[in-house]
Subunit: 347 residues, 2 copies
DNA sequence: TTTAGCACTTAACTTAATGGAGTGCTAACA
DNA sequence: TGTTAGCACTCCATTAAGTTAAGTGCTAAA
């Protein structure tokens, strides 16, 4: 366990600030002018040597200024940083962007990713509150004429998922009616997860009483259901990657960009709802492509409707204080907006 | 009007081929070995000087080999190039990828963009057959409970567009029923364009006979309608841009990438259905961001269902012959698949 | 414990030197 | 008249050497 003196802490803090703002290694002379204490550059050099011995800062070459190491950022984040109070202008942006009328939870969550990326200039990820709290509240099959049927699934949270199918010739709309009634009787009110489980087991058997060949229908229902039950991250500010990337090589950029496009895979990187706010720096992220970046994840809480995630990906040299401040504001505002949205359907 | 001798034409062709394959300026000595005619390097130098005087090839510096100029590519494309016959393996890939079952035209068109980008390693754009040939064939409002209504619009081509709305408290599902009947009576069978036009003019007036306050409904109907009537390009192989880009600067990459993301703006760049196949090279493209690239657009024809577009964006130094060959195959296969799809709804 | 002073190190930039690929031109040749 | 060998010339790319500025560690004195 590392403990720093007041002065060492001030120096580390100044190095982190200078480096994240200017991008250049920080030398002892420039620190003399900035520090609120009066010491010579030689003294600061001595302290810096100490911080380096502890592994908190490193040189880029033998006679260069210092930059924070991963461990240094870690110490800074854990012991020094105070989240910055959100600028009232920024808060207004957040509130205004969430103030409009939304018809879907996903719209709110996607919008949040966009606004947060705009405010931070980084790349952001948002996940809606976990679906394990969603229950099936309705299922319809709407014949559209011309061999087409639309399947619609509704949850108690107001989520609507739909998909259009071309019906095989041996399956008419009329035949499907009793099946819909079967679903209504047996499955309405159950959590989506349970429905999904039953779909693998008892439903096919029971359904065969109603329908000669249930496969076609099961495909349709299963497909809409799994769409409704799938958790996916929304990504905002993908283009910002071009601004803060450390990669020169277009090939590496491609791999990175491609990672952000695989929204279904992001849970592996970002994780699941958990700690209030978690900062992962450099190789603390379990993905080699991101080992030069920092990832901040925050869980937000919408009471009995479960928890969701917002996350920011940026350079290791980022203004953590400001970023974390903004994320705190988003946690609150997003939770508030979603609660308001859910309340509409709880009536 | 430029006319080249047989030998000059051979030399230009060889320079284009060498440069697009190797990426290096081509010198007279290397050409000696490749050309099917027996002449010395000095002779070739003389001919090259002539081609340069015509503006077909240029030097990168005073004593360098030559590369084709825009004008040179132009001449090559217009007078020398023969579309390459599509490899049977590639043709199988195309046919297989379009062979599956699709539930939407947009799926077919989007899939085409992906496959073409895969085969060319470039970025591709596809546009479905023009919507002016689509007619409104059905409109539904499905109440989903809990203040929600789904509006569904169907066209004679089997296109289905839908959107979910939260209904204002002063608008109940029952009230909407006569309105749907009004739509069915008055608008079914009309081209979407006409419906859109009427929506601006006579409909609001007529509707006020049925409904106290038609604004809410008009918003809903207009919103779904304009979704259905909007033409947008599908983009495939955006990531390939990283491979063939000439930009080093991340900022320029960002602008370029951002252009490709604005799918509603692409018509300005790519144009509307027209010529069979059009090749635009370098600054012939009316967009400064693309002035170092080539854009090949091809119109495909689906009989009475109208025309669509496929396009490929790549480096100016691209194997035009192969690319154009592939696009020709796509024109045929895509038109065939769409015809088959449409036929299903014409029954 | 702090500080002034100094020798030392390194990146980044500039300048010079060298080799190779390719050209244009001239004069001879078929 | 078209073709070719020969040669001087140009420019890029690479390497080598020199210079400057920023910053360090260490020593010795306050």
């Amino acid at each position: 366990m590392i403990t720093l003196t007041e002065r060492q802490s001030l120096i580390l803090k100044a190095i982190v600030r200078d480096y994240t703002e200017g991008g250049n290694p920080v030398g002892s002379k420039s620190l003399v002018q900035e520090l609120p204490i009066k010491v010579s550059s030689a003294t600061i050099r001595n302290e810096m040597a100490h911080l380096e011995a502890l592994g908190l800062i490193v040189k880029t070459h033998l006679s260069s200024g210092r930059i924070p190491s991963i461990k240094g950022y870690r110490y800074y984040v854990d012991h020094i940083l105070k989240p910055e109070k959100v600028d009232s202008k920024d808060l207004k942006v957040i509130q205004h962007s969430l103030g409009g009328e939304f018809h879907k939870i996903d719209e709110i969550v996607a919008q949040s990713a966009d606004i947060l990326s705009q405010l931070t200039s980084y790349t952001t990820f948002t996940l809606r509150p976990e679906l394990k709290h969603s229950r099936l509240s309705g299922f319809r099959l709407v014949p559209l004429g011309n061999h087409q049927v639309m399947a619609i699934l509704v949850t108690n949270n107001g989520d609507v998922e739909n998909q259009t199918f071309t019906i095989p010739n041996d399956l008419t709309g009329d035949e499907l009616e009793p099946v819909v009634r079967f679903i209504d009787d047996q499955l309405i009110g159950l959590p989506l997860q349970d429905v999904l489980a039953k779909l693998q087991q008892e439903i096919p058997l029971k359904l065969s009483h109603y329908l000669q060949n249930p496969d076609g229908f099961l495909d349709i229902f299963g497909s809409v259901l799994s769409k409704a039950a799938s958790e996916r991250f929304y990504v905002g500010g993908k283009l910002n990657l071009f601004d803060y990337t450390t990669k020169q090589n277009p090939q590496e950029m491609r791999s990175l960009y491609s990672l952000l496009d695989q929204t279904d895979n992001l849970a592996n990187v970002i994780g699941t709802p958990g700690q209030h706010i978690q900062v992962r720096i450099g190789n603390e992220i379990t993905n080699d492509l991101l080992k030069d970046y920092s990832l901040i994840t925050a869980t937000y809480d919408v009471d009995q409707h479960g928890q969701g995630i917002i996350a920011v990906l940026g350079p290791t040299a980022m203004p953590y204080s400001r970023t974390i401040g903004l994320m705190g504001a988003f946690q609150r505002e997003l939770a508030r907006k979603l609660l308001e949205y859910y309340r509409y359907f709880d009536e």
